[in-house]
C-alpha cells in the first residue's frame, strides 16, 4: 500500500527538511503534520520518513511512541481531549470527562462506530485560567459545563463547528489596579500580534538600542542588573546563564525559547505568544546578540498549534521587514528563527530533554555537566530561556535593568505573569510585581474565594512545588520568600483550593500526571511515580494504615535521587500534602471512603 | 538352711517382679508392627521416598529450577528441563522437568531438597521399600516419583 500524501504536505516536508542544521530535527513536525492529514502514524509513514530523513525505521518508531500526541492508530474525526489536571479538576472536569466518556462509549483513543468522535483524558492543556477546558483536535474550548459540552458535541456532529476561544480565557484586557504591566502591556490592543501594532508601542526599539548602542557584554550586564530570574520554574538568574556561554568557540551558538509550557496550573506563555509574539522575537534577538548566536528556535508545545501559527506569521512578517534574517537594522547582525512544534511531552520542558526533542529524538534528559551553555543543541553552546524570561528582555534593555529590578524585591527583579486558577471568583492572568503577597493576590486581585468558602491550600508555582496551607497566605510571592515558606515560586501557576477540596484526590491527580509524564529513563522516577499513583488510587478508595507512612517514604526515596527534576517535582507536592494534610488521609481510613464524596461541593463530585 | 529359704524367697520375689512386667505388658496396647503382614504406621514428618506433586488442575508443580539438585549434598538429583508448549503443557509455568531422577543409592533423606523447593513440588513421602538386587533400579525416574493425577491434566 503506497503512502498517499497531499502536494501541500510534501511541500511542507521539503521546507521542514531544509530548516534545521540536522535533518532529524524535522522528524517530529513531519510526523505531526502527516498525522493531521492521515489521521495517525501508519507503518508506511514510518518507513517513508525513515527513508526521507536517513534514519533507521526503529529510530522513527522510538520517537513516535514517546510523544503522547502521536498515535499509531486512527482516532475519531473530532478527538476530544479533556483536561482533568488539578486546575481543571478543581473546577469540575471530572463530570465533563464522564459525560464525554459516556457519549463516546468504548475505550479512550478509539473512534466511535460512526468515526466522528474519540476521546482522551489529557494532562494540563495550558488553559488553567479557563478551566475546565477541552481541546477538539487543535481547537480550545474553555470554561465548560456539561450542557455546553453536550451542545458542542451536537454541533460538531451536525458539521457546524462552534468557534473556539480566540485566546486564552482569563487574560486581562482591563488591568486590575494592583497590576504592573510590563510584558503584558500590549494585551488588549487591537491586532496586537501584528508588527505594525508592535512598532507603534515601543516595538523593536530595544533591539535597535542593543544592536547599535550596546556591546554584547553590556547587554548581559544590563540583564544581570535587572535581577531577572528564570520564569520557567528554577529561577536561575538569566544574565548569569548568558554569561556562561563560551566566547571563543568555533561552534555555532543557539538561542532556544522554551515554550513547552506544560506545568499544571501554568498558562502564561500562551498569552505572551498569542497576543504579543514580536516581544518574544525581539527578546530572542537581543539574547542572540548578547551571546553572539545567529540561530534561534522557539519550541512550542504541540497542543498550542494555533499559537504556533500566530508565531509563524509573526516570524514571516519579521523576515519580510528585515527584523530577522541578514544584517538586521543595518547592524551587520544576522539572526534566523525557527518555530518548532513538540508533540506532547511534559518532560520536554526540561531544557536538555527539550534539546533532545528538538534534535528529533525521544525527549530524554541529558547528563549534566556539561550544561547547555557549553554543550547544548547539536553539541553547541546554547542559551535556553523560558518565553516569559525572554519576553521581559526588551523592556529591560529599553528602560534599564535598574528600573526593572526596582519593580520587584531584592534579588527578584521585575514583574511576573501569575496564573491564578482554582476556587477563586476571577481566575485569570495578572502581571504583578515580584513579592506581591499571596493573600492579596487571592482576595483582592482574583476576587476572593468562590462561594465564600474558606481557603484550604494553595499551590504557588505549578503542581511540582509543595503546597502552602491557609496560614501561609501572607507569604510574599518572590523566589526567596516562597522558598523560605517551604515551597517554590516555580512557574507562577497559583492554584487555590477551598475547604471542600479532597487533598488525597489532589495528591492522586498530581501523581497521575507525573506517572503519565515520566520519561522512563531513571528507575526512581519511572517506578516510583507509578507505584505512588497505584497506591494513591487504592488509598483514595480505601487504604491501609501503613500506606500513609509509606507514601511519604516512597516519595522521599525518590527525592534527590532522580536523573532530572521531574522526580523531585513528583515527590515534593506529595510529601507536603502527606505531611500537612495527614488528618485527611486518616479520615479516609476511618470512614473507608472519600469524605468529600459526601459533600456536594466537593472538588470532583 | 535359713540361707536356702531366704534364697527361695528372694527367687520367688524376683520372679514375681519379672512376671509382673510381663503381665502388665500383656494388657497394654501392642506397639510392634507386623510388617510386612500389616502396613507400617509413620509419623507425619517421616522422610521416605520423595513425591513430586501436582497442582489443583493436575499440572506438575515442578518447574525444573534445579534448586533441589543444587541443595542436595550428595548430588543424587538429576534434572533435564524443557519448555512447555501450547499443545503440550506439563507444568503451570514456562518450563518443566523433562527428566527428574533421584538416585536412592546415594540419597541420605536429609530433606534439603524439600527445603529448597520454591514451588512445594517435592516432599518426602512415606515410601521406604527400596531394597533391590540391582543398583540401577535404585535410580527412580519422574514417573515413579510423581503423585497420581487427581484428574487428567489440562491440555
Amino acid at each position: 500500500m503506497a503512502l498517499q500524501l497531499s502536494p501541500e504536505l510534501r511541500q511542507r516536508f521539503q521546507q521542514l527538511k531544509q530548516r534545521y542544521p540536522s535533518l532529524r530535527s524535522a522528524l517530529i513536525p513531519m510526523l505531526l503534520y502527516a498525522q493531521d492529514e492521515i489521521g495517525y502514524v501508519s507503518d508506511d509513514l514510518i518507513s517513508y520518513l525513515a527513508e526521507e530523513l536517513n534514519l533507521r525505521r526503529v529510530q522513527v518508531e522510538e520517537t513516535v511512541l514517546y510523544y503522547s500526541m502521536l498515535r499509531r492508530k486512527p482516532a475519531g474525526r473530532f478527538h476530544l481531549q479533556v483536561c482533568t489536571n488539578v486546575a481543571c479538576l478543581l473546577r469540575g472536569a471530572k463530570p465533563i470527562l464522564e459525560h464525554v466518556r459516556q457519549r463516546c462509549g468504548g475505550p479512550p483513543k478509539t473512534p466511535t462506530p460512526d468515526g466522528i468522535f474519540s476521546f482522551e483524558e489529557v494532562e494540563c492543556l495550558g488553559a488553567c485560567t479557563g478551566a475546565p477546558a477541552m481541546q477538539v483536535n487543535y481547537d480550545y474550548y474553555e470554561n465548560l459545563t456539561v450542557p455546553q459540552v453536550e451542545q458542542l458535541m451536537t454541533q460538531l456532529r451536525a458539521g457546524k463547528k462552534p468557534a473556539p476561544v480566540p485566546h486564552i480565557s482569563g487574560v486581562q484586557f482591563q488591568p486590575h489596579p494592583a497590576e504592573v504591566r510590563v510584558i503584558s502591556r500590549r494585551f488588549g490592543l487591537p491586532d496586537s500580534t501584528s508588527l505594525d501594532t508592535y512598532l507603534k508601542h515601543d516595538g523593536y526599539q530595544a533591539l535597535d538600542k542593543a544592536l547599535k548602542q550596546m556591546t554584547p557584554e553590556q547587554i548581559i550586564e544590563e540583564v544581570k542588573r535587572s535581577n531577572l530570574r528564570g520564569r520557567g520554574g528554577a529561577g536561575f538568574p538569566a544574565g548569569m546563564k548568558w554569561s556562561f556561554v563560551p566566547k571563543d568557540t568555533s561552534k555555532p551558538k543557539y538561542i532556544i525559547a522554551n515554550a513547552d509550557e506544560s506545568e499544571p496550573g501554568t498558562c502564561k506563555d500562551r498569552p505572551l505568544m498569542e497576543l504579543d509574539p514580536h516581544q518574544l522575537i525581539e527578546g530572542m534577538l537581543i539574547a542572540g546578540r548578547a551571546v553572539n548566536a545567529h540561530q534561534g528556535f522557539i519550541y512550542v508545545r504541540g497542543e498550542y498549534r494555533y499559537v504556533l501559527e500566530i508565531l509563524e506569521r509573526a516570524v514571516t512578517e519579521a523576515y519580510e521587514r528585515a527584523y530577522l534574517g541578514k544584517n538586521i537594522l543595518g547592524s551587520g547582525f544576522d539572526f534566523d528563527l525557527v518555530v518548532h512544534t513538540g508533540a506532547g511531552a511534559y518532560e520536554c520542558g526540561e531544557e536538555s530533554a527539550l534539546m533532545e526533542s528538538l534534535e528529533g529524538k525521544r525527549g530524554y534528559p541529558r547528563i549534566r555537566p556539561p550544561f547547555p551553555a557549553v554543550v547544548g543543541l547539536y553539541g553547541c553552546p546554547t542559551v535556553i530561556n523560558n518565553v516569559e524570561t525572554l519576553s521581559s528582555v526588551p523592556s529591560i534593555i529599553l528602560k534599564g535593568g535598574e528600573w526593572y529590578a526596582n519593580l520587584g524585591t531584592p534579588k527578584n527583579g521585575g514583574t511576573r505573569l501569575f496564573c491564578i486558577s482554582g476556587h477563586v471568583n476571577r481566575p485569570g492572568l495578572y502581571e504583578l510585581p515580584m513579592g506581591f503577597p499571596l493573600r492579596r493576590m487571592i482576595e483582592e486581585v482574583a476576587g476572593g474565594m468562590r462561594n465564600g468558602k474558606k481557603c484550604k491550600a494553595v499551590i504557588p508555582g505549578g503542581s511540582s512545588v509543595p503546597v502552602l496551607t491557609a496560614d501561609q497566605l501572607d507569604t510574599p510571592m518572590d523566589f526567596d520568600s516562597v522558598a523560605k515558606a517551604g515551597s517554590m515560586l516555580g512557574s507562577g501557576g497559583v492554584m487555590v483550593m477551598d475547604e471542600d477540596t479532597c487533598m488525597v484526590e489532589v495528591a492522586q491527580r498530581i501523581m497521575h500526571f507525573y506517572a503519565h509524564e515520566s520519561c522512563g529513563w531513571c528507575i526512581p522516577c519511572r517506578e516510583g511515580t507509578t507505584w505512588l499513583r497505584k497506591m494513591l488510587d487504592r488509598f483514595h478508595a480505601g487504604g491501609r494504615v501503613e500506606d500513609i507512612r509509606q507514601i511519604g517514604e516512597l516519595a522521599r526515596n525518590m527525592l534527590g535521587k532522580t536523573f532530572c527534576p521531574l522526580g523531585d517535582a513528583a515527590a515534593m507536592p506529595t510529601i507536603s500534602i502527606v505531611d500537612k494534610f495527614r488528618d485527611e488521609f486518616e479520615e479516609h481510613l476511618r470512614s473507608g471512603e472519600c469524605p468529600s464524596a459526601r459533600s456536594p461541593a466537593g472538588v470532583a463530585h | 538352711m535359713a540361707s536356702i529359704l531366704r534364697e527361695m524367697g528372694e527367687t520367688a520375689v524376683t520372679l514375681a517382679k519379672g512376671f509382673s512386667v510381663t503381665l502388665r505388658t500383656l494388657f497394654r496396647p501392642t506397639v510392634t508392627e507386623n510388617y510386612p503382614d500389616e502396613p507400617v504406621r509413620f509419623e507425619a514428618r517421616y522422610r521416605g521416598i520423595h513425591v513430586l506433586h501436582r497442582d489443583e488442575s493436575g499440572l506438575e508443580k515442578c518447574v525444573a529450577c534445579f534448586l533441589c539438585a543444587a541443595a542436595c549434598p550428595v548430588q543424587c538429583i538429576y534434572i533435564e528441563a524443557d519448555e512447555n508448549t501450547a499443545e503440550r503443557r506439563i507444568s503451570a509455568s514456562e518450563r518443566y522437568a523433562k527428566v527428574y531422577n533421584i538416585d536412592y543409592s546415594r540419597c541420605i533423606f536429609c530433606g534439603y531438597c524439600v527445603e529448597a523447593c520454591p514451588t512445594d513440588a517435592i516432599t518426602h513421602g512415606h515410601g521406604f521399600e527400596l531394597a533391590t538386587y540391582n543398583i540401577a533400579d535404585m535410580v527412580y525416574r519422574k514417573e515413579q516419583l510423581l503423585a497420581q493425577a487427581l484428574k487428567p491434566p489440562r491440555t
Binding site: D43, R56, E61, G520, R526 | T119
Partner: protein
C-alpha cells in the same frame, strides 16, 4: 603539561587512592576493589546514569552523586558505604522490583542474574509493593532472541550495544514511563539484525533470552570451557557452556581472550553443528557403488593398501593431498609431513583464502609488521581493501568500529561493494569489482584504468594516509601475489609505522599456510627449492624430501593428473565449484575424505573417515592475524577420531610411522622448527592468544608467482560458515540468512 600525566589523588571510604585523570569514579573505585553497584553503566558504552544504583556521597555536594558520571577530581572525598548510600541502593532495588516478576525459579537468568545478586547483597528482604504489576506476554523477537517485558529493568544496555558497538540499531525503546519497553526494528514486532546475541549476553536480567539456551538447564549445572571458535578466521575465544557432552550456548562473560565479550552468532550459537544428526560416526567404505558403514580397521587398511598400490605402480606424484583450513596446526603440519615423507610428493595444497605467503614474502623478513586483532583498537588509522569484515570477520569489524568510536581512529575503505563499514569510514572509495589491485596502483601514484571520481578519492586517501602516524592495512582475497607486494611497497612509503592483516576465511586458514600445506613452500614459508632448507627438514624427519614443487589445488583437479586424491576437512566440489562427479575432481581412481559430514566431495569418495571437530580435539589454531591459541577439547568425540590420529595411524599402516604420539609432541617440534612459532608456552597454556610472525624473507622474488585462481574467498556471510554452517540448526534458522547480504 607534564602534570596532566600524573594521577589524581582522592579518598574513597577513607582510603587514599589514585586514578589517571579523566577516570570515572566508578572505575576508580573498582580499580582498588571497592564495588559500586550499577546496572546501566557498562564500560565502552555511552553513559546513562539511569539506574541510580551507583549513588555515592561526595563531600561538598549536597545530593548523592552517580559514580558512573563523576570524573575523579584531586582531593575528592567519596563515601560508598554510608547508611545514606545503602538506603538509596535499597530504595532503588525496591523500585526496580515493583514491576519485576519474582519468577527466578523459572527464569533462565536465575543463578547468573545481576538483579538477583544485587537484591541479595543490598536489597530489602520483604516487598512492600501491594499493587498490581504491569504485565505483557513474552515476545519472540527472532529465532534467536526472546523478550520478556516484565523482567526488563530498562538499563538500555541492549539498545546501546546494538547501536554503538554493533552499529545495527535493531533495538529501540518504545513508549515512555513505566510502560517503556524494548522494541525490535520490524513493524511486525520482530527483529532483523545480525543475530549476534550481544543484547542477550549483556542483559543483566532475564529479559532477553536465547532460543538455544532457553529452559534447558541452570548456570551452575554446566561446565565452562573457553576455546577458540571453530568458524571464521578471527579466532574469538568462546566459552562453551556444556552439559552432558552437549554445547548449550557460547559466551565470553569473563571478557578474556582477544575478543573480550564480543561474539557473533557463530561463536555464540553456531557450535551446534557438532551435535547435528548427520554427523559421521563411523567410517564409510564404498562397496558395490554405495558408501556403507565399516570399522576403522577396514577403512584404514583399505586406504593404506590403495595408497601403497598407487605409489608402487604409478609413483608418489600421482597422489595429491588437499588440506583443510579448519584443522589444527599440528594436523596440518602432520599432513604435509605425511605427504612429503610417507608418500613422497609435494602435491599438497588447500583452499587458500588469503595470500599469506605473498605478504610474508613482501615483508622480506620484517616480523614486526603483522598486526594483531587487538592492535586495531590502538592504531591511528586503518586502511581496508576488499573483503567485507562485517560478514567475514565480525570481530575485526567490531574492533574497527571500536577504534573509531572510542579512540578516534580514521578508517579508509576501498571496496567494490558498498560494505557496511563504509558507514564508519572517513573515506570510502568504490572501485569496479576486481580493480582493488588497480586502486593500490593509484595509491602508489600510477594512473591505472579507474573511474575518474574513484581516482580522485584515492588521491585524497593517499594524502590522508601520508599524514597518519600509524596505519594498519587489512586486505582480503582480492589482493594476491603481485598486488600484495605493491600494497606493501605503498605501506613502506608511508611516514608512519604500517602493519598488515591478510583476511583469510576460516579458523585455521593462516595456520594451514604457516604449516606449509602448500605445493611449493615448507613450514614457515621456506621455499622447497632451497636445498639447504630442504636438508634441514630431511635431517629432522630422517627422510628425503621431493625437490620439485607439486601440483596446486587447481592443477590437482585437472583430468588425469592424479590417481589418488586425499582430502582432509575440505569440500572442493563446493568451494572450487567443480562438477559434482568424480570427473569433476579429475577422475582419481582413489578418493579418500576425512570429514565431519557427508559433504558433496565425501559423497563421491571411496573411503570416508569421520573426523573430530575443533571442539573435540587437542591442538592449536592460528587466526588470520597470526595469533596462536590452544583448543581446550570441550567435548569428547563420539565415533569420530581427530585428523591427527587418523593420519598417524595411516603412517603406521603404510610402514613409515610418524612418531608423535600427541598433538603436543608435534607442537613442540613446530615451536622449535617453524620460523615465527617460537612462542611462550606459558601464555598458550593459560588460554591466551600468542602472536606468531613467520618471517622468511628469502622467498621475496616468488611473491608475484601465485597463480591466478588460487586465492579466493568463499565470501561467507554472518550466517554461513562453509560446511560447518550448513549443519548448524541455529545458523539455518535465522531468516536473515536467506535475505540478500544484509547491510543493516
Amino acid at each position: 603539561m607534564g602534570d596532566e600525566q600524573k594521577t589524581v589523588p582522592l579518598s574513597v571510604d577513607g582510603r587514599s587512592i589514585e586514578a589517571p585523570p579523566g577516570t570515572l569514579l566508578i572505575e576508580a573505585c573498582k580499580s582498588v576493589g571497592i564495588e559500586v553497584p550499577s546496572f546501566c553503566y557498562y564500560p565502552g558504552l555511552s553513559l546513562q546514569a539511569a539506574c541510580r544504583m551507583c549513588l555515592v556521597e561526595i563531600e561538598k555536594t549536597p545530593k548523592l552523586q552517580t559514580a558512573c558520571t563523576v570524573i575523579v577530581q584531586p582531593g575528592m572525598v567519596v563515601r560508598t558505604s554510608t547508611p545514606q548510600v545503602h538506603a538509596a541502593r535499597k530504595a532503588m532495588l525496591e523500585f526496580l522490583l515493583t514491576n519485576h516478576p519474582l519468577d527466578c525459579p523459572v527464569c533462565d537468568k536465575g543463578g547468573e542474574c545481576e538483579l538477583q545478586d544485587m537484591v541479595f547483597r543490598y536489597g530489602a528482604a520483604e516487598s512492600r509493593f501491594a499493587e498490581e504489576k504491569e504485565h505483557q506476554p513474552e515476545q519472540r523477537f527472532s529465532s534467536v532472541v526472546y523478550f520478556d517485558y516484565p523482567r526488563c529493568i530498562l538499563c538500555f544496555r541492549c539498545v546501546r550495544v546494538c547501536d554503538e558497538a554493533m552499529d545495527v540499531k535493531a533495538l529501540g525503546v518504545g513508549q515512555r514511563g513505566v510502560r517503556s519497553t524494548i522494541i525490535p526494528n520490524r513493524p511486525d514486532g520482530t527483529l532483523e539484525c545480525e543475530e549476534c546475541g550481544m543484547c542477550i549476553d549483556i542483559c543483566p536480567v532475564g529479559a532477553l533470552t536465547s532460543h538455544q539456551y532457553r529452559y534447558k538447564t541452570r548456570p551452575w549445572e554446566m561446565k565452562y570451557v573457553g576455546t577458540p571458535c571453530a568458524h571464521c578466521g578471527d579466532g574469538c575465544k568462546t566459552t562453551l557452556n556444556i552439559r552432558n557432552n552437549q554445547i548449550l550456548r557460547g559466551n565470553n562473560r569473563d571478557k578474556t581472550g582477544i575478543n573480550g565479550e564480543f561474539l557473533c552468532i557463530k561463536g555464540r550459537y553456531g557450535g551446534d553443528f557438532v551435535h547435528h544428526p548427520e554427523r559421521l560416526r563411523q567410517p564409510l567404505v564404498r562397496r558395490h557403488g554405495r558408501l556403507e558403514p565399516a570399522t576403522w580397521e577396514e577403512g584404514l587398511d583399505l586406504v593404506a593398501h590403495r595408497l601403497k598400490e598407487i605409489t608402487v605402480s604409478a609413483g608418489p606424484d600421482r597422489i595429491g593431498f588437499l588440506g583443510s583450513n579448519r584443522t589444527t596446526n599440528e594436523e596440518n603440519y602432520l599432513l604435509q609431513r605425511f605427504a612429503r615423507t610417507v608418500i613422497g610428493t609435494n602435491n599438497i595444497d588447500h583452499h587458500r583464502t588469503a595470500d599469506y605467503a605473498a605478504l610474508v614474502a613482501a615483508l622480506g623478513g620484517d616480523t614486526t609488521a603483522f598486526a594483531a586483532s587487538g592492535d586495531l583498537a590502538r592504531t591511528a588509522a586503518i586502511l581496508l581493501i576488499g573483503s567485507d569484515p562485517t560478514h567475514n570477520h565480525p570481530l575485526l569489524a567490531y574492533n574497527i568500529r571500536a577504534a573509531g568510536r572510542l579512540h578516534d581512529a580514521r578508517l579508509y575503505v576501498i571496496n567494490a561493494r558498498e560494505i557496511k563499514l563504509r558507514r564508519q569510514a572517513d573515506r570510502f572509495v568504490q572501485v569496479p569489482a576486481g580493480q582493488e589491485a588497480a586502486a593500490v596502483e593509484a595509491l602508489l601514484g600510477a594512473a591505472p584504468d579507474l573511474p575518474p571520481d574513484a581516482r580522485q578519492e584515492l588521491d585524497k586517501v593517499r594524502a590522508a594516509l601520508e599524514k597518519e602516524s600509524d596505519v594498519i592495512v587489512l586486505f582480503g582475497a582480492e589482493m594476491w601475489g603481485r598486488g600484495v607486494k605493491r600494497l606493501v611497497e605503498f605501506g613502506q612509503k608511508l611516514a608512519g609505522k604500517t602493519r598488515y592483516i591478510a583476511l583469510g576465511d576460516y579458523a585455521n586458514s593462516r595456520g594451514a599456510a604457516d604449516m606449509g600445506v602448500l605445493p611449493d613452500l615448507l613450514p614457515g614459508y621456506g621455499p622447497l627449492t632451497d636445498a639447504t632448507l630442504r636438508k634441514k627438514w630431511e635431517q629432522l624427519w630422517n627422510s628425503s624430501l621431493p625437490a620439485t614443487p607439486g601440483l596446486n589445488a587447481r592443477q590437482m583437479f585437472e583430468p588425469g593428473r592424479l590417481r589418488g586424491l586425499y582430502v582432509v576437512g575440505a569440500n572442493p566440489v563446493k568451494t572450487f565449484k567443480l562438477a559434482h562427479t568424480r570427473d569433476g575432481l579429475g577422475a582419481p581412481e582413489l578418493l579418500v575424505v576425512q570429514e565431519l559430514f557427508l559433504t558433496e566431495t565425501a559423497q563421491l569418495a571411496d573411503v570416508v573417515l569421520p573426523a573430530a571437530s575443533a571442539y573435540e580435539k587437542d591442538g592449536t589454531l592460528t587466526n588470520t592475524c597470526g595469533e596462536l591459541q590452544r583448543l581446550r577439547r570441550p567435548l569428547e568425540p563420539v565415533g569420530a577420531r581427530s585428523d591427527f590420529e587418523i593420519l598417524r595411524l595411516l603412517s603406521y599402516a603404510l610402514g613409515k610411522p610418524i612418531p608423535w604420539r600427541t598433538p603436543e609432541a608435534a607442537f613442540e617440534e613446530i615451536r622449535q622448527q617453524v620460523p615465527g612459532y617460537q612462542v611462550s608456552l606459558a601464555s598458550l597454556l593459560v588460554g591466551e592468544a600468542t602472536r606468531t610472525a613467520p618471517g622468511d624473507g628469502r622467498h621475496a622474488d616468488k611473491a608475484a608467482e601465485t597463480s591466478p585462481g588460487l586465492i579466493f574467498s568463499s565470501d561467507d556471510s554472518l550466517f554461513t560458515s562453509g560446511t560447518l554452517g550448513r549443519f548448524s540448526e541455529m545458523l539455518n534458522s535465522v531468516p536473515e540468512r536467506k535475505l540478500p547480504r544484509s547491510q543493516l
